[in-house]
Structures are given as C-alpha cells and as structure tokens.
C-alpha cells in the first residue's frame, strides 16, 4: 500500500468542484488501503502579480518525505499545486489558471495588454509547461481540459472523468414544479441567464438555487437581476445544503439548469443525470457538452434567456418527454462508470507511476 498526498489549492471559505474532487479521491484511496492525506495551501487569485509568488511557494515545498516517512506519490489537481516537487508526481488536472488561457481577452479575465500582464501570462504558461511535463502521469478531468492543455502547452493527457461525489446515492422521484440550480454563485456560472429567463418560464415553476457566492459583488448583482425581473417570490437561495438534502433536491426537480461559460467538467450535469433529471445547458458551456445530448438527456440551447425559458417550458409541456430524457441520463451514468465503480479506473491511472516509471502520454478517454 502506498503513501500518497493529494494536493489542493483552496480559496478560504469557498467550496467548489475541486474541493469535492480532492475529498472524494482521498476517501477512495483510503478505502483501497492506501495511506492518503491532503496538502493544501490557501490560494488567492488577487492581486494577479502575486500568482508568481504562489507558484513559487508550491515549488519550494519538498514533499518527498515527512517525519522520516517517504511519500510514494503526490497527485496535483490544479494551479499552482502541480508546481510541487516530487520524483513521482501525477496530475489530475481540474483546470489551469483560466484567465491566462481560455478566458483570456474576455469578460472573465483580468489579463489585458499591459506588457506586465503579457509577461505574467508568458511566465505562467512557460512555467506550467515545464512543471506539467515533469509529471509521470497526466490526466485531465474532461476532454475539454485535456484539449486546452494540448493546445496551449503542447502536452497530451489521459481523460479521467471524476465519478460522482455521492456515488450510488442519487435517486429519482416524482417531479415537483421547480428548477434547480447548483453551483458556486459567480458570474462565470451565469445564474443571471436563468434569472433573466424565469419571467418567460411557465409561472408554475419556481427556481431553487443551491450554493454560495465566492465572488465580490456577485450576490448583489444576481439579487439586482432578480429584483429587476420582480422574481422575489419565485426564487429561493438555499445556500450550502447537506448531502442528503442535495440528493433530495435533485431527485424532484422538473429540470436542472447548468449553463456556465466553458465549464471544465461540471459535477452538476452528472449529478442531475444520475438523479434522472433533464439538464438544460448552453451551446458554449464546454465540459457539459461532453455528456448532455440535446433532446436525448436534456436540452442544449443558445445562451440566451428566451432559449433557456423555452427549454424549461418544453419540459412542462411534455412531462413524458422530460421523464424520457431523465431516464436516458440515468442510463448513461450507469453505463459510463460515473458511479462508485468508476473509481477503479481513476485510481489505477493516477497510481500508475508507482508501477511504471514513465507512462505519461496519449489522450485516452477512460470510463466512458
């Protein structure tokens, strides 16, 4: 059995997909008899200049042994954890520093044409390329993330979809008249798209929002959008909820809204499918499009309020069709290794450096 450290970078007081991934990975490593623990450093995206220092801090860590005990393997997850030093390093890439890459030049990036910004972008890109190339095994959590790594850093990787955090717990129940939105409340998740759509949605449907804001001003912005559309009576912000409550909310939703901009992966999509609920996502939502098939397991629509509204109205008009889409989603999840059984393939991949010195290489989709 191996001694393994899983590396996380956490913005204090926030909770998102990366935290879920780290916690579930450690749980499943331990369940297989490995000695596994988490090493986390706080991560602060601002000010952007200080990102170099944060990468340097990870680089300064020597994780090869602690208290005389050798660490057999480290598993990095996202920027800047993969800067850590270890002779056997796997990466299960959640995402890089997206403002320097795929979000560059748009509203979700603060990197502009100040020559210092370009110098920063080049430093981070060059640094990422070097330290990710060091990894004995590279995997990404989705094809979307793997494609970015290949395009921007010239590095290939396997694709290991993270199995669902609550494994086999998801279930389906009779649909109640609400739309469910789950996720961190920040601009890139585009809750405002749903709020702008709601006035056009069948008035019997309300909106339940699970998640907390982790972006300055985001909650106020979404509240303003809600008030502008006079939606106070139709929208419930539930904050962070417990696992059981979340499973229950998924199980009864008429449909689940999840349409972030160019998502890396999106647990929400798969949790909804595992719960037999149709997902409404957008044509530019990135990772969600690796799973949702328009008209089969949900709806893929233009990122416009009317299109989102029409998708939900369709679910109300045709409950049998909605049920069919939900069932197709559940069937996909069962056959794709996203439930507990999927962890074997993930852990085999991530731990492969312990068996073979160098197997970094080809893009390969495992588990689907």
């Amino acid at each position: 059995m191996a001694r393994i450290l899983v590396l996380g970078a956490k913005v204090p007081f926030t909770h998102g997909g990366q935290e879920v991934l780290v916690a579930t990975l450690v749980k499943h490593l331990r369940a297989r008899g490995h000695e596994a623990d988490v090493v986390e450093l706080p991560f602060d995206p601002l000010p952007k200049q200080n990102l170099i220092a944060q990468a340097a801090m990870w680089r300064a860590l020597d994780l090869s042994e602690f208290a005389g005990q050798q660490i057999d393997l480290v598993i990095a997850t996202k920027f800047p954890t993969y800067y850590a030093r270890h002779p056997k390093k796997s990466v299960w890439l959640v995402h890089q520093l997206r403002s320097m890459y795929d979000l560059y030049g748009g509203q979700y990036s603060d990197i502009g044409d100040d020559p210092r910004d370009e110098a920063l972008r080049r430093m981070i890109t060059d640094g990422d390329t070097t330290v990710l190339a060091e990894c004995s095994y590279r995997a990404a959590i989705s094809k979307n993330v793997a494609d970015r790594l290949e395009a921007f850093n010239g590095l290939s990787s396997h694709v290991l979809y993270p199995p669902l955090p609550q494994g086999n717990a998801y279930q389906s129940a009779g649909a109640k008249p609400y739309i469910l939105s789950v996720g961190r409340i920040c601009r890139i998740k585009r809750l405002d798209l749903m709020l702008e759509a709601l006035p056009f949605v069948d008035p019997t449907l309300s909106l339940k929002v699970v998640g907390v804001s982790d972006e300055p001003g985001a909650m106020q912005y979404f509240t303003n959008v809600m008030n502008k559309n006079n939606l106070a009576g139709r929208v419930q912000f539930l904050g962070r909820v417990g696992n059981e409550e979340l499973v229950d909310l998924y199980s009864k939703a008429t449909g689940v809204f999840y349409a972030p901009f160019d998502e890396d992966y999106g647990y929400v999509t798969l949790e909804a499918m595992a719960s037999g609920r149709p997902v409404v996502t957008a044509t530019d939502s990135g990772g969600t499009l690796e799973f949702v098939r328009d008209g089969e397991s949900g709806r893929v629509v233009a990122p416009e309020p009317q299109a989102v509204a029409e998708a939900f109205n369709g679910l109300v008009r045709d409950p049998e069709g909605a049920k069919r889409m939900g069932a197709a989603g559940r069937s996909f999840i069962e056959s794709s290794g996203m439930l507990d059984t999927g962890w074997d393939a993930v852990i085999d991949g991530l731990l492969s450096p312990l068996l073979s010195p160098d197997i970094a290489g080809r893009n390969k989709v495992i588990g689907v």
Partner: protein, 443 residues
C-alpha cells in the same frame, strides 16, 4: 533576410468547422492565403486550436509567442474589425505590433475588456523612452475612443479596405503617428472578390428582383427602403438577408409597410449566400448608414457580379466611384431617392452600370490583384518591422523585470514583523524555471 520566404503570423477570425464565414477577416483570409502561401511562410493564428486552414498551419492566437520564439516571424499581420468575433484579435495587437488591415475605422468603444483599460499610450511612450517607469496599477486608464490609434500606432503601414477609412485615418490619426521610426504609411487595399460570370437571364421575369443585406435597425435604412418599395409601381420581389437575431424586427417592419407577401427573409449573413442570391438578382441594396461597420464584402460582390448596387453616400459608401453605383444622399428624402432609382431601373436594363462596376472591381478587387499588392506591401514593411519588433521585445523584457519587482513588493512586505522571502522563495523559482528568460526573441 536573403531570399528565404518571409515568415508571416497571420491573425484572423476563423469560424468553427461547419459554421458559415461570418467576418470580413475570414472572408479575406480564405481568398488570399491560398494565393500567398507559396510566396510567404504563413501561419494562421485565431481562436481555434491547432490544425490547418487554407493549406497552412493554424494555431491558437495565445501560442503566437511560443511559435515566434521557436522560429521567429518577420511580420505580424492583423485584420481589425468591429464586432464580438474580432475582439480577441484587438487585444492581441497590443501584445505584438505588426501590419494592420483595418476593415472598420471607428472600432467600437465597446471593445474587448483588455482594451477598455489599456495602458497603451503609456506603453507607447515607454517604447520610445525606456526611462519612463511602468505605471502604478491603481485606477486603470480608460480608453474612450480607440479609433484605431492603439491598433496602428507601431505599424509601419496601415491598410484600409475602404477609401473613406483611409481618409478618416489620415485626417485623425496619422498626425499622431509621426514618431513611428521610418515614418508611417496608410494605404487603401481593396476587399478581394472572385470575378464570376453571371449565368442568369432576365428574360421571362417581369418583376424587378431586388436583394438587400443588413440590419433591420435604423442603420440598415429598412424604414426608408421599405416604403419606397411599397410605392413602386413595377412588380418586384425582395430577398432580404438578415441576422437571425433581427428576424422578428424585420417581420414587424414588413408588416408595418404592408409588403410581407413580396419579401423573403433569409436568416444568417454570409458572403456565400449573397453570391448565390446575386445569380438571379437585378438590384442590390447596400444602404448601411453608419460610421461603424462596413459594407464589404457584399457591396464588392454585387459590383463584381454586375448587379446594380444602390449605396448610401455616407461613411464607407462615400468614396465609391459614382459611375459604378447608384448613390443615395442621406437625409429627409432618402425614400424618394430610392424610389426614383428603382423606377429608373425598372424602365431600362438594370445592368446599366454593370460594365463600369465590373471594370472597377476587376482592376482593384479581383483577388489576384489584391494578393499581388499585398505581397508588395509585406515586402516593403518587413525591414521597418525588424527594429520595431526588436525594440518592442526589449520593452517586454523590461516589463518582466517590472513584474518581478511588483512580486518582490508583495512578498517582501513585512507581515506581523516577519521578514519577506523573495530571495529565498521566488528568486530561485524564477531562475530554476528560466522565467527570467522573457528576454527579446533573437532575430
């Protein structure tokens, strides 16, 4: 540079595979690169990942510096146009100067986020005087009127696809570019078209077959040409190409003017669709009336096809030679003027101006003519760019050091009496990963 081919980094918008060509830059790229790729070593940079386009390598634009480092380019070439799809290119031109081909002069104030807060004017001053320090990062500068100054400031030659654009540029911007080493030139480089023989015959159709392209909002002048059509005595039919998002607005206008039954709407604007429409048309309406945006390539395609073009004599429509199009003077009497032209065209062969319009497009728009002219411009601009690019890379090296000074400021700021640790943590990291090698690319 000897006799080797010039290496050109060609920045353009490219639509995803299967999507129609939606931008002027891609339209021009698709026509010109196949003719230029034998003469130049071209790599295309756009928003798509690596692949091939027009028979040359294609990369994501953010990897241009890596390609440049591996095998330096002689010239960065940018096409600039307004609109969402052109935004990422506009940010990029602030990263590496080059030759610009401006399709819109009055680039919208609603530019890319990176441009809104561009410190460009200060960067430019630093380029000429390295003693000027980098600014504090406090309140970001706000660039109110880009007007192509930022986009052309270090370009030895700026190309314009409309004569009006060049004229306005010369009037407003050139005087601010006197500092450009070796001087700055502006040139008109026409929108390329492929000349095609018209196969259609007018015999047998008594209707005047009219086509229109453009917005259903005010700038498209639909509220002027639809009443003119409603009043036209000669039988007519209009095919109107609009963006899908404007279909509803267009339908409202058609209903308001009582012409819905004589108009077909086509959703989605693309040069290919326009060329298809031109094969069986008599008159083309190009009535866009705005200093933003451009008429091309639709107007040039109409002229090349010998279809009578009616153009608003405003902005980029101002400087079209008058024997090649029918011009409408903007103002109160637009509807009466449009009606007058249509009545005149219905009384005689609508191809009245075809000979002069086609002669004009053959002499300046035909794609091989444009490609030849572009080759000459590239060859003449490249020597001047050597120094520009070298100096610009020096600015980047200075910026990298300024950035690391900023990092030092954060890391070494004492917290709770604890000393800073730049030298023990950050400096070795920068050295180990060779991040300090943000030095100029070698030429």
């Amino acid at each position: 540079m000897g006799s080797r081919k010039l290496r050109i980094a060609w920045f353009t918008h490219v639509a995803r595979p299967g999507q129609p060509v939606a931008t002027m830059s891609q339209y021009c790229t698709d026509l010109l690169v196949p003719l230029l790729r034998e003469r130049f070593d071209i790599e295309i940079f756009c928003g798509l990942y690596s692949g091939e386009h027009c028979g040359v390598p294609r990369h994501h634009l953010l990897t241009a510096y890596q390609r440049h480092r591996a095998k330096p380019f002689d010239l960065f070439f940018y096409q600039l146009e307004d609109g969402l799809l052109g935004r990422s290119l506009r940010t990029q031109i602030g990263i590496m100067p080059g030759v610009t081909w401006v399709h819109d002069l009055y680039l919208s104030d609603l530019g890319a986020e990176g441009i809104h807060t561009s410190p460009w004017e200060r960067s430019l001053a630093q380029y000429f005087n390295p003693a000027i320090p980098f600014s504090d990062r406090g309140a970001p500068p706000h660039q109110l009127r880009p007007q192509a100054f930022r986009e052309t400031a270090l370009s030895p030659v700026s190309l314009f696809s409309s004569r009006w654009g060049k004229r306005e540029f010369d009037r407003w911007v050139t005087a601010r570019l006197e500092h450009v080493p070796g001087g700055h030139r502006s040139e008109f480089l026409a929108v390329p078209v492929v000349m095609r023989e018209r196969r259609d015959s007018l015999v047998g159709d008594k209707r005047l077959r009219i086509i229109a392209v453009g917005s259903a909002s005010g700038v498209g002048r639909a509220h002027k040409f639809l009443p003119a059509l409603a009043a036209l005595k000669t039988p007519w039919h209009l095919t109107w190409m609009v963006e899908p998002t404007e279909r509803d607005e267009a339908e409202v206008l058609l209903s308001e003017f009582g012409v819905s039954d004589r108009v077909s709407l086509i959703e989605g604007m693309s040069p290919q669709r326009w060329e298809d429409l031109l094969r069986s048309s008599d008159v083309a309406l190009h009535l866009r009336s705005s200093p933003f945006g451009h008429l091309g390539p639709y107007l040039q395609l109409s002229m090349a096809a010998g279809v009578a073009a009616i153009v608003m004599r405003y902005a980029s429509g101002e400087e079209i030679p008058q024997d090649a199009v029918f011009s409408i003077v903007p103002g109160m009497h637009e509807t009466a003027q449009i009606l007058g032209v249509l009545e005149a065209l219905s009384r005689r062969d609508p191809r009245t101006l075809a000979v002069s319009a086609q002669a004009l497009t053959r002499s300046e728009n035909e794609v091989s003519v444009v490609a030849r002219r572009m080759s000459v411009l590239f060859q003449s601009a490249a020597p001047a760019l050597v120094e520009v690019m070298a100096r610009w890379e020096s600015l980047y090296a200075a910026a990298a050091h300024a950035l690391l000074d900023e990092v030092r400021g954060f890391v070494d700021a004492p917290v709770g009496g604890m000393p800073g640790s730049y030298e023990t943590i950050v400096a070795p990291f920068v050295e180990e990963l060779h991040l300090q090698t943000l030095q100029p690319n070698r030429y």
